[in-house]
């Protein structure tokens, strides 16, 4: 296929990766300027992992992500305005300002949360897959988790449950070589996280996480299996994060080895752009996408800045379905 029309699926992959990259670059800049409270865990370097996985899903498929939450929703197709507004703590944010950077989760795109408790998405994804199965829907549920998260019992229990019940779940371990400062091999026993699959009697697949097409192909196969009722797959995307564990940790936490430069050279966006150009896509078309996304990001930021902060009563909403009353002694000073 050499069409470069608007709806060319190849361009959509490029677009989403670019969108993540530019969204985050802007977020980092305004975080440094003090406009975003709290921490910021960036996804730069890992875009092919998120986009390759999500592009293999339908809009109505489910997804659960992590504290490193900027990439997944954009990969799944979310709009930027509510995401940026969330980073700024505004009421127009996707979580009404209550989640923040670790929780950019757009339920309208099938997300069921980006959870900042490492590993905790595993059971949720298994449960969503169970729900789809019980409802007779052919939806699947995809769980992103980190290499570090693979050590958590929750991931083990989620995978065992999904496997023993043949649930339509896909477990995608985004192995970016570190959990915070700790290299994967110092925390995760065994040569590959994907090797754990054998113990559950499910396929375990290792894929180049810098290659969006490779990730997509692996996840598509897993999705097909899942929809066909053949149960879950564990996929490990070998990838890398370019930034430190999080922005604003005071100092660099992650030790960088000589392989750092190789990973930077294997930038997933550069790789994919080159592939597109080689396949006949015009550089100008890609440049046009880049600048359209720059506009989108600027628009999102403007929207976020123009939005209001939540009113205090919002702090008491969504604990339960019915809003809680504000205690008088608290409201007096809010």
């Amino acid at each position: 296929m050499t069409t470069t029309g608007e709806n060319d699926p190849r361009l959509e992959k490029y677009r989403r990766m670019q969108r993540i990259r530019q969204f985050e670059a802007k977020a980092e800049a305004i975080h440094a300027a003090g406009e975003i409270p709290g921490a910021l865990h960036t996804y730069a370097g890992m875009e092919a992992s998120g986009v390759g996985a999500c592009i293999a899903l339908r809009d109505d498929d489910y997804m659960v992500g992590t504290h490193r939450s900027h990439g997944h929703p954009i990969a799944k197709g979310a709009k930027l305005r509510p995401l940026m507004a969330e980073l700024l703590g505004k009421v127009t944010g996707i979580c009404k300002g209550k989640g923040g950077s670790m929780h950019l989760s757009d339920f309208s795109m099938g997300s069921l949360g980006e959870t900042s408790i490492v590993g905790s998405g595993g059971p949720v994804a298994a449960g969503a897959a169970l729900g789809a199965k019980l409802q007779g829907l052919d939806r699947v549920a995809l769980c992103f988790f980190g290499d570090g998260a693979s050590s958590e019992g929750a991931i083990h229990e989620g995978m065992n449950l999904a496997a023993v019940w043949s649930l339509p779940a896909i477990f995608v371990c985004e192995n970016n070589r570190f959990g915070m400062s700790t290299p994967t091999d110092k925390a995760v026993a065994g040569a590959n996280v994907a090797d754990r699959a054998h113990g559950y009697g499910i396929p375990g697949v290792i894929v180049d996480g810098q290659d969006v097409d490779a990730v997509e192909a692996a996840v598509r196969e897993a999705v097909d299996r899942a929809r066909a009722g053949k149960g879950p797959t564990l996929i490990e995307t070998k990838t890398y994060r370019y930034g430190d564990h999080a922005v604003n940790m005071g100092r660099e936490l992650t030790p960088r080895g000589p392989e750092h430069d190789d990973w930077v050279a294997r930038d997933p966006i550069t790789i994919y752009r080159k592939r597109l150009v080689e396949a006949g896509v015009a550089d100008a078309d890609l440049d046009a996408i880049d600048s359209a996304i720059a506009d989108e990001v600027a628009d999102a930021l403007q929207f976020a800045r123009d939005s209001d902060y939540p009113v205090f009563a919002e702090a008491f909403d969504h604990v339960f379905v019915d809003r809680l009353p504000i205690p008088a002694d608290v409201s007096a000073h809010a």
Binding site: Y62, V64, G93, I94, C95, K96, G97, K98, G99, H103, S105, D106, F107, S108, L112, G113, T115, I117, S120, G122, P123, V124, A125, A126, G127, A128, A129, L130, G131, A132, L134, Q135, R139, A141, G153, A154, H156, E157, G158, N160, L161, V164, W165, D317, H318, V319, F320, V321
Partner: protein, 330 residues
């Protein structure tokens, strides 16, 4: 109306709600074989898809209930014994209690986590926990702790129909007790409404879970001594019907909180704190807690049994606060 046990009330509530609503299903360890008798005939009636035996992985399947609820199901999890909630604490506290809030209302988690308070029968410390107060400190979880068959059925039905996550703590000391239970399919007791189990004027005894029945027995004993005790059963611990408790204490001026859990940071402590904060002017004596002391539960029945709240301890406490007051110079 029929006289049925507390266990049978659980069975009925689950059965009726599963029949009524296809999105309700039940899962847990060995639910198909129906260990305690709350799922009799379920596999035959509802099929294996809706009656699921889980692997022994409480964090996994309780978290899965959260995921299933988020996509529109209404899971009932039978976690059997309350002590087995500890391995699932993370999914309960980090996911189930918080997801609706963190995501600004995008998530809805209609699910019920049932477990029994399995104390008093030589099961030793690892099986005898009564941990509801731990969950009371975590916003986002509704909690029921019924003390008789009718409440059990009505509250469990309310829990299953609720759009919020609900923990159901089922006191095994009540399991075999029979009571009149409505067979109306809409016998639903609203969450957050306490109940006056016995009216009285001298003293309020607030009971928690099985503590209500001990309180009722104590009230009978006190009546023989001419002391009229009112017995309040909050029935749901979250939301807690503070108003009903306060009304009673404003009337009687005296309160005893009976709770089979360990004393420190117990539901009894919360109730006592509520009373002294909001009904101080009415108080005519100390608010006394009759609880299990802060020790573990031993296996040997000879030393286990005396640890729980008893009629004698409540009666003593009542005499003490009434006597103390009389003894105080005017």
């Amino acid at each position: 109306m029929a006289r049925v046990t507390y266990l049978e009330a659980i069975h009925q509530a689950q059965k009726e709600e599963m029949a009524r609503d296809k999105s309700v299903f039940i899962m847990g360890e060995d639910v198909r074989c129906n260990v305690f008798g709350t799922t009799t005939g379920f596999v035959d009636q509802f099929g294996e898809e809706r009656v699921r035996d889980t692997p022994i992985s409480e964090n996994g399947f309780i978290g899965a209930a959260g995921g299933a609820a988020m996509v529109g199901m209404r899971p009932i999890v039978d976690a059997t014994i309350s002590s087995f909630l500890f391995p699932a604490m993370d999914q309960i506290c980090s996911i189930i209690a918080k997801s609706r809030y963190i995501y600004g209302g995008q998530a809805r988690l209609p699910l019920v986590i049932r477990s029994c308070l399995f104390y008093g029968n030589s099961n030793a410390a690892q099986h005898s926990d009564r941990p509801y107060s731990m969950f009371m400190n975590m916003p986002g979880l509704k909690i029921i702790a019924p003390s008789n068959a009718s409440d059990m059925k009505g509250l469990l039905k309310a829990a299953i129909r609720s759009d919020d996550p609900v923990l159901s703590f089922e006191d095994s000391t009540c399991w075999m007790a029979k009571g009149e239970v409505s067979d109306d399919v809409d016998h639903v007791i609203p969450l957050g409404k306490g109940d006056i189990k016995r009216e009285g004027s001298d003293l309020t005894i607030i009971g928690v879970a099985g503590g209500v029945n001990v309180a009722l027995n104590a009230a009978k004993k006190l009546a023989e001594e001419g002391i009229s005790a009112e017995v309040i059963d909050p029935r749901t611990l979250v939301p807690l019907d503070r108003e009903l408790i306060l009304q009673s204490v404003r009337k009687t001026g005296r309160a005893i909180c009976v709770d089979p859990a360990h004393m420190t940071c117990s539901a009894a402590s919360e109730i006592a704190a509520t009373i002294v904060e909001h009904a101080f002017d009415a108080l005519r004596g100390p608010v006394v807690r009759v609880t299990t002391p802060d020790t573990h539960l031993p296996f040997s029945p000879h030393i286990e049994k005396p640890l729980y709240p008893s009629v004698e301890r409540i009666v003593d406490a009542a005499r003490r606060i009434i006597g103390a007051e009389r003894a105080v110079p005017a």
